[in-house]
């Protein structure tokens, strides 16, 4: 792993308007509120958080499926946040996406062969059908789907197999960055590990970089090199996997980690119980967004938004406790 930065996200914001009526006070859902992080070439960056905290929106923003309101997304040295759809096409090739729901992300009326050949047809219009077919067969084999299944339709496969096809589709263009949006959360636990190991193998083989979005800490621990923890549209902590799981700094990360079920029921554990519900993203608390549920909240937390600060090598935390 080298230290070259492949993706650098700086102060990205995305607010979704709640109503489009005129003369009515505009309200927004602050889905992603000032998020900054970077991913180094060849590493796996895990993005964790509760559902609705803006993880998936972040993934879609980076992929340009939705456009950011403000901020920069530097990919391969270019700010791709606000370039036109035409220019985007150039960056779609090195940046691919794997989706959460393998049942919905494959065209139901296309054969596996055609689904996988489509990216090639789009980006290499001159490539012959035979060449494409060879590439597709080769890659499917690597993803654990035998050649024999080429002319089947997606509905004839199991969830795990479909996700393998989804991963193969994202790899066919030989991308550098893969945004995996909860790629295993729709699968059985036994299949999850197969898919995760497949992703790891492929990473080694092709030198891939992953942005791995998940709500499952166990999965993230298994696959990530560095982890970012999101809460209500903001990153509260970024650190290496080791640091996060051994020595979490932010109270939210601590609470999150204490909730992981342990395989040994006799082991003593004292989960940190957070009180209340996650506040609405359309009306987030003033100051630190976490102060309404934080067991260690101070006065300053209700007034000032904490900034993401470096407190240790490779560990950044947004909390007033570390001021």
């Amino acid at each position: 792993m080298n230290n070259e930065i492949l993706l650098n996200v700086k102060h990205v914001k995305k607010y979704f308007p709640l109503s489009k009526k005129w003369f009515v006070e505009k309200k927004y859902v602050k889905a992603v509120d000032d998020v900054s992080f970077f991913i180094k070439k060849g590493e796996t960056f895990g993005l964790v958080g509760e559902s609705g905290c803006g993880k998936s929106t972040t993934g879609r923003l980076i992929n340009g499926l939705i456009k950011a309101d403000t901020g920069e997304i530097n990919f391969q040295g270019t700010n791709v946040a606000n370039i036109s759809e035409k220019l985007w096409k150039r960056y779609r090739k090195p940046m691919q996406m794997v989706f959460q729901d393998p049942y919905a992300s494959l065209s139901p009326r296309m054969k596996v062969k055609d689904i996988l050949m489509e990216p090639l047809t789009i980006h290499y219009p001159k490539m012959s059908k035979q060449e494409k077919e060879i590439l597709v067969k080769d890659l499917l084999e690597k993803c654990g789907i035998s050649e024999f299944h080429l002319s089947k339709y997606p509905h004839e496969f199991s969830g795990g197999q479909r996700q393998r096809i989804g991963i193969a589709r994202s790899l066919i263009l030989k991308p550098e960055l893969i945004i995996a949006d909860e790629p295993v959360s729709a699968l059985d636990v036994s299949i999850q590990s197969q898919i995760l190991n497949l992703m790891k193998d492929l990473q080694e083989e092709f030198g891939l970089t992953y942005l791995f979005i998940s709500h499952d800490l166990g999965v993230v621990e298994h696959i990530s090199d560095r982890v970012g923890v999101m809460y209500l549209g903001s990153l509260v902590e970024i650190a290496t996997k080791k640091q996060i799981f051994a020595d979490p700094k932010h109270p939210y990360t601590q609470a999150l980690l204490s909730s992981i079920p342990k395989p040994d029921p006799k082991e003593k554990r004292e989960p940190i119980m957070l009180e209340g519900e996650i506040p609405s993203a359309s009306n987030p608390p003033v100051g630190c967004k976490f102060h309404t549920r934080c067991p260690l909240a101070m006065d300053i937390c209700k007034q000032k938004v904490p900034e993401l600060k470096q407190i240790e090598q490779e560990q950044q935390v947004a909390c007033h406790l570390f001021d």
Binding site: N63, L65, W88, K89, R92, K93, Q96, M97, F99, D101, A104, S105, L106, S107, P108, R109, M110, E118, P119, I122, H123, E141, G144, I145, S146, F148, K152, E156, Q161, G166, R169, L173, L198, D201
Partner: protein, 295 residues
């Protein structure tokens, strides 16, 4: 790492046939629709071979047999010129069906393209297309058709244009709603993230999703179109009054409704049955292909 399942080639073939087969298995249960399909199939056969097998020349008058009631020789009787009504209806099927099906086809093609554009791109494009459709919707179908024929002049070609014109907005609207639905599906987003152009997404991914809706609506619209084409002919705006078009036959025979009832009865009956058959077939197809739109 390699997962192979013990599926033989035979099983694979069976699965592939499965789609059409399961459609047929479902459709077979809809007896009225099945019966309608047979009736329409029969009409299509008549339309193709009719002119070669009818017992009498549909255009040749026979002044010894004016206004004869149905008999074994003339099953549906004869008209005011002694022409065999059965033969005329059989030959007329060609006119009625060709006019109505080609009109709906034309309307469906234009309407589908407009609906796809409107639903996919949204914004001002959507508003513009839908407002134009609203304007067309504001006129009753037949009034609109009469207006168009009045501008273009009478004749079958213009009837086709007129009838297709009033089916455009309904196709546009129904395809638009199907597009709006499938546009939000994950695989469309996935294709977009690969870098597919809008044209490719619409044509390869969204259009196939709208086909079942289009088929159902097409079938139902054909019934309406037959009625509209017959009405226009009845009003003297469509087929030549002397041609064996069903509507024109009705129109010519209305003077004899007191004296020779069969003159209006059989053309009316055949129009009624054909329109009914297309509607019932459309209903059955909808139940099988597109159960969501069921009331």
């Amino acid at each position: 790492m390699i997962q192979t399942e013990a599926i033989t080639q035979e099983q694979l073939d069976k699965q592939r046939q499965g789609r059409l087969y399961s459609f047929w298995k479902e459709f077979r249960k809809k007896k009225p629709a099945l019966f309608s399909l047979f009736f329409i199939g029969f009409l299509v056969i008549v339309m193709i071979i009719g002119p070669y097998v009818v017992p009498y020349d549909p255009a040749a008058p026979d002044y010894n047999k004016l206004l004869e009631s149905p008999s074994l020789q003339h099953l549906f009787g004869t008209d005011a010129f002694g022409r065999d009504i059965l033969s005329r209806l059989a030959v007329g099927a060609r006119i009625s069906l060709t006019v109505s099906i080609s009109a709906v086809l034309l309307g469906a093609i234009v309407g589908t393209v407009l609906g796809l554009i409107s639903g996919y791109f949204g914004k001002w494009m959507d508003r513009l297309i839908m407002r134009i459709c609203d304007v067309l919707f504001a006129f009753p179908d037949l009034i609109l058709a009469i207006g168009i024929v009045a501008i273009l002049g009478p004749g079958l070609k213009n009837v086709v244009i007129a009838v297709s014109f009033f089916s455009i907005p309904s196709f546009a609207r129904i395809v638009r709603s199907a597009t709006l639905e499938s546009k939000e599906m994950l695989f469309v987003e996935a294709t977009r993230s690969i870098g597919a152009s809008n044209r490719r997404i619409i044509w390869k991914h969204i259009f196939p999703e709208t086909i079942p809706t289009i088929i159902v609506y097409f079938t139902m619209k054909v019934g309406t179109a037959i009625l509209a084409a017959a009405s226009l002919s009845f009003l003297g705006l469509g087929a030549e009054p002397s041609s064996p078009d069903w509507g024109a036959m009705l129109s010519k025979s209305r003077d004899y409704i007191d004296s020779a009832f069969h003159l209006v009865f059989f053309p009316g009956l055949i129009i009624f049955l054909t329109v009914l058959a297309f509607n019932v077939l459309g209903d059955g197809l909808r139940d099988v292909l597109d159960p969501k739109t069921k009331d």
